[in-house]
Every structure is written in C-alpha cells, then in structure tokens.
C-alpha cells in the first residue's frame, strides 16, 4: 500500500488522530517573527573564553561562537550565553491515541496530548516529519503554549499523558522538562518519543521526570548512523540501557529500510544485544518505511521483510515484537508469551480487546510488563 493510500485508508478506518489542535506544517515557511522566539537560558552548556560556548546536551558538543546556532537550529549563542529559542513555542499540538507513538504497553486505549517544537539534532534522510524537524523555529508557525498551558490543554482534553514527539524533543529539553514537572504535579504522565541522541547527564535528569520513553533505534551499525542519520549509535545504545535501568517504561522502534538496515544478521545481533542488556520483555516494533524527504529512491518495506525480521526477533527470545505501519496486521496484537493468546487486540489505533487484569494475562495469569493503569 502506498503511503497516500495508507493515509486514506487510515482516515476512512477512523485511525487518524482524534483531534488536531495545531496541525504541523499547516502553514509551512510562513515565517514567525524572530522577535517572538523565546530567550530562555539553555541548560547543559559550558561557557568558553571569547564569548564562545560548548553545548553539552547531545553528543555533537557544538562549539559555537557568538551569534551562532547549534546543529539543532533552535539553540543560539548570544554574546556568550546560550539560549533556547523554542521554550513554550509549540508548532504542533494534537490529541493522539497513545498507540500512535507507538507505545503499546503504556496506558492503552488512552490519548496523549502531543506537542512539538521545530528542530532536531540529527538529519535522518528518511525523516517523516522533516517539515518541522529540519527547520528553524522562525520558519514555521508556532503558538505560545507555556508549560502550564500544555498541562491545562491536556486536562481539558482528558489526556492522561503528554507526549513530547514529532520532531526531536530533546532539543526542547527545558520546555519538556518544566512541562513534565508541571504535569506531574497535576497527576498527568509524561512520555518522550525520541531518537535518544543525547548525553548521559541530561538524559538521566529527564528520566527523573517522565514516565515512558519510546526510542527510535535506527540501525545497529555506526556506518548507517554516519551516512543516513548524521549521528552516533553508541550514545543511543547507552540511552536505551539507561532508560531500561530507570523506573521509566521503555519501548523500542526500529524503522526497517529496504537494503539499508534490514539484514537478518544485523537484526539478530541487535536482538541479542537487547536481550542481554535489557531483557526479553522490552517491546520492539518493526516499523514499515515509506519513501519520503531525502530518501524517495527506495520502495516501502515489503511486508515479507517485516514478518521475517519479526520471526528472527521471536527466535532470539524477545517476547513482545510488533509490526507497525501495517494497519490490521496480526503482529499489531499483543500475545501472551506463556499461553500464546491475544491479550491486546488492535486495529490500527483502535483497541478492540484487552485481556489484561492487574498487569497479568487474564487467561493464564502470566505477568505482562507494562504501565497498564
């Protein structure tokens, strides 16, 4: 199914987001007044002589002279002080099913208020949201939505969680962190949808204030990260381990791109690493690639490839392996690893059945890891 047809299908099936409060890319490159960007001092940077700074948020360690912006395009050195330009400047605000993130073991059948700002600290050639992730904040429409307003919007829309998503939320760290604290005070959960190209200290601090994290592991070799992501693999692996060792719920998504990261040997190696470092119970989603942005020369991932890789992951002993971007596929369901029965039946973002009680399979009593209520 082509991407456009998939979207049409999804819409017809009622699988699209429930509510769109500020659609991203609705008015792309209409330009916001640069005077309307935020000027909030950034965290995680070092001041250097001669008005230079070194950013320590992500493994790029951007060393910037006065008036320069980091690779992310949303943090700027102004006279030797580093500022975030996107604090409270949301360019996308949606109410989404949590399954869209995807988070399958985290408050299923609920919605997450989902927000983003412009910017990203990598440049994936296959980015599906490049219209907001690969632009500067002044190049796109945004609204003023400070942390307390985000939380109020979540409450108003009966969202039990807030998702920081779409672009790369780590680059709006300060906004995300403060919003998470405010949300927590109001009993609302926080989930982060990230590529996890981040340094240990800020990520550790972030894990203290959020409840769930979905990490995009884009390949299991550095060469891919160098060529197609423009980032480093090891910090992502370190972040995955750090998340798994915290109280935070973790799921991993692997976008399968034909010919580039889809060999059985690479997937087997990755699954062995996951099982050894994290354990067999972390949900792993193999997601279908659609040609977009700078990678239009490849076809969508064949279904047979996704099914084959899923089988490999199951063979390696992972318990919860899903296939994503193929609506109504049987691998959207959660199966009890003990009795083999369907315990969460999904149809796109619609949950048809949940057979989990008190965190256990309702049919055989097997403990099912997750954040169920």
């Amino acid at each position: 199914m082509r991407r456009r047809n998939f979207l049409k299908f999804s819409a017809a099936a009622g699988l699209t987001p429930k509510k769109c409060l500020l659609p991203f890319a609705s008015d792309l490159f209409s330009f916001s007044d640069t005077a309307n960007l935020s000027k909030v001092e950034a965290r995680y940077y070092t001041k250097l002589p001669d008005r230079e700074i070194e950013c320590q948020l992500c493994p790029r360690f951007c060393k910037l002279g006065d008036k320069e912006r980091g690779y992310c395009g949303v943090r700027e050195n102004m006279g030797g002080t580093y500022y975030t330009l996107v604090y409270g400047k949301a360019c996308a605000v949606h109410v989404d099913p949590i399954e869209k993130k995807p988070l399958f073991h985290f408050l299923p059948k609920t919605t997450a208020l989902s927000i983003a700002t412009a910017g990203c600290n990598v440049n994936c050639k296959f980015c599906q949201n490049w219209e907001i992730s690969q632009v500067r904040p002044e190049q796109i429409t945004h609204i003023d939505l400070p942390p307390e307003s985000v939380v109020k919007t979540a409450e108003k829309n009966n969202c039990p969680s807030i998702a920081y998503t779409y672009s790369e939320p780590l680059i709006f760290f300060e906004y995300m962190y403060d919003t998470s604290l405010e949300a927590r005070r109001k009993g609302i959960k926080n989930v982060v949808i990230t590529g996890a190209h981040v340094n240990p200290e800020p990520f550790k601090d972030l894990l203290e204030v959020v409840d769930g994290v979905k990490i995009d592991l884009k390949a299991f070799n550095q060469d891919f990260y160098t060529k197609y992501v423009r980032g480093k693999l090891q910090p992502v692996l370190d972040a995955i381990v750090a998340a798994s060792q915290s109280h935070v719920w973790l799921e991993i998504v692997y976008l399968v791109i034909p010919t580039l990261n889809d060999t059985t040997s690479e997937i087997r190696q990755m699954c062995r690493w996951i099982k050894k470092e994290i354990g067999p119970d972390v949900p792993l989603h193999f997601s279908r690639f659609y040609p977009y942005y700078l990678m239009k020369n490849l076809p969508p991932t064949p279904l047979s490839t996704l099914e084959s890789l899923r089988n490999t992951a199951l063979e390696e002993g992972l318990n919860y392996v899903y296939i994503g971007n193929i609506p109504a596929h049987e691998a959207e369901n959660t199966y009890c690893p003990h009795c083999g029965e369907i315990i969460v039946k999904r149809m796109g973002y619609i949950i048809e059945k949940i057979n989990i009680k008190n965190g256990r399979c309702a049919l055989c009593g097997q403990e099912i890891p997750g954040f169920w209520s």
Binding site: F29, R51, K63, K67, E68, G70, Y71, C72, V135, Q139
Partner: protein, 296 residues
C-alpha cells in the same frame, strides 16, 4: 587561468563618515578595471553581466553592525552596476532575514522602483516548497536565489570561522537555504562546494567580491576587535574558488603576522575550497591563478 584582484587602500575609514565613500568607489572602479580590462563601467559591467536581467547581490549580515557587509559597500557596488547599465529596479540586495538586514543598518525597500533590499522572510517571498536535493545537500532554496534573480553576485564579508575555517564567497550562499545549520560538520566540507554546485547557484553566479575592508582573522564569525584588522581591500574574481582561495591566504597571512597558528594547525582548514575545485567550480592551484594586487 583564473584572475583574482586584490585592490587595497589605506585609511578606508574616517571619523566623519565611517567608510570613506570616495576611496570605496575608487576601489570598485579600479578593481573592475583590473578584472575586466575595461576602464569604463559600461564595458566592464557588460563583460560580466547581462544588463537587462534581475541581479542579486547576496550579502552577509549575520555579524550585526560590527561585522557585516555594510550598506555603503553594497550600495556603492549597486551604483557601479547602475553606472554600467543595469536598471536600479533590477538590483536586489538581500540576505536571510529582514531582522539581520536591519541590524546591519540596512533600510528595507520592496517598492517597485529603486534598488530593492529585503530578506527571504519577507511577505510573499520565502523558501521554495520543493526540496532541492543535490549531492550532499537537501534544502529549500530562497525564492530570491531560485526564482527572482537571474544572475548573482556574492558580496561576502571575508572572515575567520570557527567551524568552516573561513567564510567567503561560496559559503555566503549558505544564507540562500533554509537549513545551513545542518552543514557545518567536517569544516563544512563538502557541503559548501556541493551547495555552490547546485544549479540555482552555479548557473547564476557571475562574480565574487570579498569585502576585506576589515578582516576578522581569528575567532570569527563574530566580531572581536582584538583579532580584526583594517585591511582596506576588496578581492574580486569571476572564479568563485580562486577568490575564496585568495581570501583564505589573506587570512593565513594575517594570522601569521599576529603569531597565530595556521587554520590547518587548528584542524579547521577550509578544505571545501579544494573540494570545489574537484567539482570543476574553479581553481585552487596557485599555478592556475593570476593575482593582480594593487594599492591605490
């Protein structure tokens, strides 16, 4: 054989008017003469440009008032172009944003008549909606560069750059795309060369003029008076690579004079200039460059 002109004068600044207008005009007049071989402006401009086409002068104003292409420098060039036969309504001085232009003391003008001065973020301008994918580049071009102008002059400030090594004529075009922050890895190599090679630039670029009246030879791209020297010069060439190469050598000379290590020793040699030669964009080999240096 590439020809590069270095035309200099002493005391380009005075306390009364900042840049001495007369001296600046003389730099342009003599510089164009040396570059084209023609003494009169009409012949010299005709040798370089089509006089009936919309002409963009891409300047660099990120450095604010202290270290940008100053209004007097670009307007003096525009005057010379008009004297040479271009219509003033067909001349557009531009950069990324109106804010940066105004911070560098430009007065915006989008009127039908007169020399136009505005940024890509002006109403009705903006970036192209379709990505240009060319070699290592995937970017949206400013409509100014891609649609409005038919021929282009890079009037760039010459300065040291902490990431790129130097900023000169080719890197100036980073201001013609929406995402230059994505192209500063590896000392901007090969990104500067790859961007310049894109048709929207390569097919329209006619002339490089490096504003070397004051050269920031260390700790750029921001202004630091300690490492800025009055050089009083313009560097001109129709070969964009040779112009940048000569500009690079000027910065190296100034660094050496002030006891600073070379850019190579600081691991920020602007190798994108050599990459540009490999792409056939111009010459970097000194044996293939004739430098005409004159002080007036």
């Amino acid at each position: 054989m590439a020809k590069v002109i270095i035309i200099q004068t002493k005391n380009i600044y005075n306390s009364k008017e900042g840049i001495n207008s007369e001296k600046l005009n003389n730099l342009y007049t003599r510089g164009f003469h040396l570059l084209t071989g023609f003494k009169d402006s009409k012949s010299s401009i005709k040798a370089l440009l089509s006089t009936d086409k919309k002409t963009g002068i891409k300047i660099n104003t990120i450095g604010g008032r202290s270290l940008s292409t100053r209004p007097k420098v670009s307007l003096s060039l525009a005057d010379y172009l008009i004297e040479g036969g271009l219509e003033e309504k067909n001349i557009l001085i531009w950069d990324r944003t109106n804010r940066e232009l105004m911070n560098a003391d430009y007065r915006l003008n989008m009127n039908q008549n007169g020399i136009k001065i505005f940024g890509t973020d002006s109403n009705t301008i903006g970036y192209k909606k379709k990505l240009t994918v060319h070699r290592s580049i995937g970017s949206l071009f400013s409509s100014i560069q891609s649609d409005i102008v038919s021929q282009s002059i890079s009037l760039a400030i010459l300065k040291d750059h902490g990431l790129a090594g130097i900023t000169a004529g080719m890197k100036n075009y980073f201001g013609s795309i929406h995402n230059p922050n994505k192209y500063h890895d590896f000392n901007c190599n090969p990104f500067v060369a790859d961007l310049f090679d894109a048709p929207a630039i390569r097919e329209k670029h006619r002339l490089t003029i490096l504003d070397a009246l004051t050269v920031q030879f260390h700790k750029g791209p921001a202004y630091h008076s300690l490492w800025a020297e009055e050089y009083g010069g313009l560097i001109m060439s129709t070969d964009p690579v040779a112009a940048d190469y000569v500009g690079w050598q000027v910065i190296e000379e100034l660094r050496k004079k002030h006891g600073l290590p070379s850019l190579k020793e600081e691991n920020r040699e602007p190798l994108y200039i050599k990459t540009a030669e490999k792409l056939g964009l111009g010459s970097v080999n000194p044996a293939n460059i004739t430098i005409l240096r004159e002080e007036i």
